[in-house]
C-alpha cells in the first residue's frame, strides 16, 4: 500500500519536471572590462547539435572552451567563434584563460 503510494508520488514528480530549455541556436557573449555582460549564463545544446558560440571581447586574451579543449586568441575589440558539433556530454566552462574569468557554462545534454 505504502509502496504503491510512493511509486505514484515518484511518477508524479518525474512527470512534473518541465523539460529543460535547450538553446540549440547561435549564442553570443559580450565581454566588457574582462567580464561577461549579464553575468555568467548557462547555455545548453543537445548532443549532436551544432554548438555556435561567439565571444566579442573588449579585452585581449585567450578564450578556452574546456572539455572540447579549443583555445582561440582574441584581440582587443575582436571576435572569436566556436562552431563545432556537440559530441561530448557534460558541463564545461568557457573561460578567459589568462584572467581565469568564466564567461559561460556550457551544458551538452543527452
Amino acid at each position: 500500500m505504502a509502496a504503491a503510494a510512493i511509486v505514484i508520488i515518484a511518477f508524479a514528480i518525474a512527470r512534473s519536471g518541465s523539460s529543460d530549455k535547450v538553446a540549440g541556436k547561435p549564442q553570443t557573449i559580450v565581454v566588457r572590462d574582462a567580464k561577461p555582460v549579464g553575468g555568467v549564463r548557462t547555455l545548453k545544446w543537445k548532443r549532436g547539435q551544432m554548438i555556435d558560440l561567439t565571444v566579442k571581447s573588449d579585452t585581449a586574451d585567450e578564450v578556452h572552451f574546456h572539455g572540447y579543449d579549443v583555445h582561440k586568441d582574441v584581440a582587443k575589440g575582436g571576435t572569436v567563434r566556436f562552431h563545432m558539433r556537440a559530441t561530448i556530454e557534460g558541463k564545461f566552462i568557457v573561460e578567459l584563460e589568462n584572467r581565469k574569468q568564466t564567461l559561460a557554462n556550457v551544458e551538452v545534454v543527452p
Partner: protein
C-alpha cells in the same frame, strides 16, 4: 574622501561579484558532471524508500555480520612487505621531487592529478574492491619502520619505549587530518600549485615521523595517519582482507562491525561524509550561483576587513564546517531517538556502537561524487607518466595521449551515481540492523530502534541524491 571610500567599496563589491565559482573548481578538471535529471531523482528516492521498508520487514532475526572471520587464501613472504614499502617510498620521493622540479602548470605536472585523483580518490576505489592495498605501500609507515629498524640497530637495543597512546586521543588526529586535506582540496586557492602541494606533503611527513617516534609506528599509523585510517576504513567493506602477511576472503561488509569504536571515530565518519557533501554542494547554485550563500558570506568577511581572496576562503571554510556539522547533527538526532527505545546506554556509547553503519554511506558518497573524476581525469595519467615534470619528455611514448570524455556517457555517470547511493544506503541499513539484534534482546525493540536509524539513512541518501540533482543546481 567619501568619494574614494565609495569607489573602494564599489571595487570591493565588483571584485566579490567577479569571484567566480570556476575559480574554486579544480583547475585540473576540464569537464563537470551534468546534474541528474528530476525523473531519475524521483525514481531513485522511491527505490530507496521501498527498499528500506521491504528490508526492515524481511531482514534476518539473528546477527550475521558480527563475527565474520576471513578464510586465509595465501601467505606472502616478509621480503614482499619490504619491497612494497620501498616502492611506496620511491613513488613518494618522486612526487615530492616533481612538485619542486617540474613545471608549475597544474595540468602539465603530475603532482595535482596524482594527489587529488589517483591517491585521494583512486585508492578508496581500490580499497573497496581489493581491501587495504595502501597499507603495504604506505610511505610514511615504511619510512617509520625502516628508520626505527636502523635506530634500534645503531642503539644496540637501548631504544626508549614509545609513550602509551592516550585513549582520549583515539582517531581524532585522523579526523582532523581528513578535514585538513578536504580544506586544501576544496577551500585553499593554491591547491593546484605543484610546489605548494610538495611542501604540504613534506610537512605531513614531518608530522607523521614525530607521531610515530612518540607512540610507535603501528599505534600511530592506526590512529594518526589520516590517509592510512581513511583508506583502511573503506577497506573494511571489501571481501578481501590483508593482515599478518596473509590474504583472506570474507563476507562483503564483514570487516565493518569489527571497527573498534575508539574516541574520534564518530567525528571521523561525519567528517568523511560532510566533506564529500560539501564538494558537491559547493558546485550548486544555492552555494555559488549569483547572489548565493558563498557570496553573502564572502561579503561579510570583506566587511570584517579581510581582502578578497582570504574572504572567499573564509566563506568556503564556514561552508565546509557547516556541512560536517549538519551530518553530525542528523546522526545525533538518530542516536537520541534510538535511546528512547530503551536499553540504558548513553548517547555517546550508542553513537559508537552504530558508527560503523556510516561506512557504506561514506563510500557511496565517494563513488557518487568522484566516479567521473576517476573515469575522466584518471586518463590524464596516460600522458602524465610519460612527461611527469611537464618538461616535454616522452618516457613511454604516451606524452601526446588525451582524455576521451566519451568513455562514459552522462547517462552512464548518472546511473553509477544513483546505484552507488542506493547500494550504500542498503548496506548501511544492513549493518545497523545486524548491530541492533546484538544490542536489544527482543526483536521488536531492535526493530523500533531501527526506525530511527532508517530515518538517518534516508536523510543522508536523500541529501546525496539532492546534491547530485538538477534541483540543487
Amino acid at each position: 574622501m567619501r568619494r574614494r571610500l565609495a569607489v573602494t567599496a564599489a571595487a570591493a563589491v565588483a571584485a566579490a561579484l567577479a569571484a567566480p565559482q570556476a575559480a574554486l573548481a579544480h583547475g585540473i578538471v576540464g569537464k563537470q558532471d551534468l546534474p541528474i535529471p528530476r525523473w531519475l531523482f524521483a525514481w531513485a528516492a522511491a527505490v530507496v524508500l521501498i527498499a528500506s521498508f521491504v528490508g526492515l520487514a524481511s531482514l534476518w532475526p539473528r546477527p550475521r555480520l558480527e563475527r565474520v572471520r576471513a578464510r586465509v587464501l595465501l601467505r606472502s613472504p616478509a621480503v614482499l612487505e619490504w619491497l612494497c614499502g620501498a616502492v611506496g617510498i620511491a613513488v613518494y620521493g618522486f612526487i615530492v621531487y616533481a612538485g619542486f622540479a617540474g613545471t608549475q602548470t597544474a595540468t602539465a605536472n603530475i603532482v595535482p592529478t596524482w594527489v587529488f585523483v589517483v591517491f585521494w580518490v583512486g585508492i578508496p576505489f581500490l580499497s573497496l574492491l581489493f581491501g587495504d592495498v595502501f597499507r603495504p605501500f604506505n610511505p610514511w609507515r615504511a619510512f617509520g619502520r625502516a628508520s626505527g629498524w636502523v635506530l634500534r640497530r645503531a642503539a644496540g637495543g637501548r631504544m626508549p619505549e614509545p609513550i602509551a597512546y592516550p585513549d582520549w586521543l583515539g582517531r581524532w588526529p585522523a579526523a582532523f587530518g581528513v578535514l585538513a586535506f578536504a580544506w586544501v582540496e576544496l577551500v585553499y586557492v593554491n591547491r593546484d600549485d605543484p610546489s605548494t602541494l610538495a611542501v604540504l606533503i613534506v610537512a605531513y611527513t614531518v608530522f607523521q615521523l614525530v607521531g610515530m617516534s612518540l607512540f610507535g609506528e603501528e599505534r600511530w599509523t592506526r590512529n594518526g595517519d589520516a590517509f592510512a585510517v581513511y583508506f583502511g576504513i573503506f577497506a573494511r567493506l571489501s571481501p578481501l582482507r590483508w593482515a599478518d602477511r596473509a590474504l583472506g576472503v570474507r563476507t562483503p561488509l564483514g570487516g565493518a562491525p569489527a571497527l573498534e569504536p575508539r574516541a574520534g571515530t564518530v567525528a571521523l565518519l561525519c567528517t568523511m561524509i560532510g566533506t564529500t557533501s560539501f564538494d558537491g554542494f559547493s558546485n550548486s547554485t544555492l552555494w555559488s550561483g549569483p547572489n548565493d550563500m558563498s557570496q553573502h558570506l564572502t561579503n561579510t568577511f570583506v566587511k570584517l576587513g579581510l581582502h578578497q581572496e582570504a574572504a572567499v576562503q573564509g566563506a568556503y571554510t564556514v561552508g565546509l564546517l557547516m556541512m560536517v556539522a549538519l551530518i553530525a547533527i542528523v546522526f545525533w538526532i538518530g542516536i537520541a531517538g534510538m535511546r528512547t527505545v530503551g536499553g540504558g546506554e548513553s548517547a555517546p556509547a550508542l553513537a559508537r556502537r552504530f558508527v560503523h553503519s556510516l561506512i557504506p554511506i561514506a563510500a557511496a558518497y565517494v563513488v557518487a561524487h568522484y566516479f567521473s573524476l576517476v573515469a575522466y581525469q584518471g586518463q590524464a595519467m596516460g600522458y602524465l607518466i610519460s612527461d611527469p615534470l611537464g618538461h616535454g619528455a616522452n618516457w613511454f611514448g604516451t606524452a601526446s595521449a588525451t582524455i576521451d570524455y566519451n568513455v562514459v556517457s552522462a547517462t552512464g555517470v548518472w546511473y553509477v551515481q544513483v546505484a552507488a547511493l542506493v547500494i550504500g544506503h542498503v548496506c548501511g541499513l544492513v549493518l545497523a540492523h545486524d548491530r541492533a539484534l546484538v544490542m536489544w534482546s527482543r526483536p521488536s525493540q531492535a526493530m523500533r530502534s531501527q526506525y530511527w536509524m532508517l530515518a538517518v539513512m534516508v536523510g543522508f541518501t536523500s541529501l546525496g541524491l539532492w546534491i547530485l540533482s538538477a534541483s540543487a543546481q
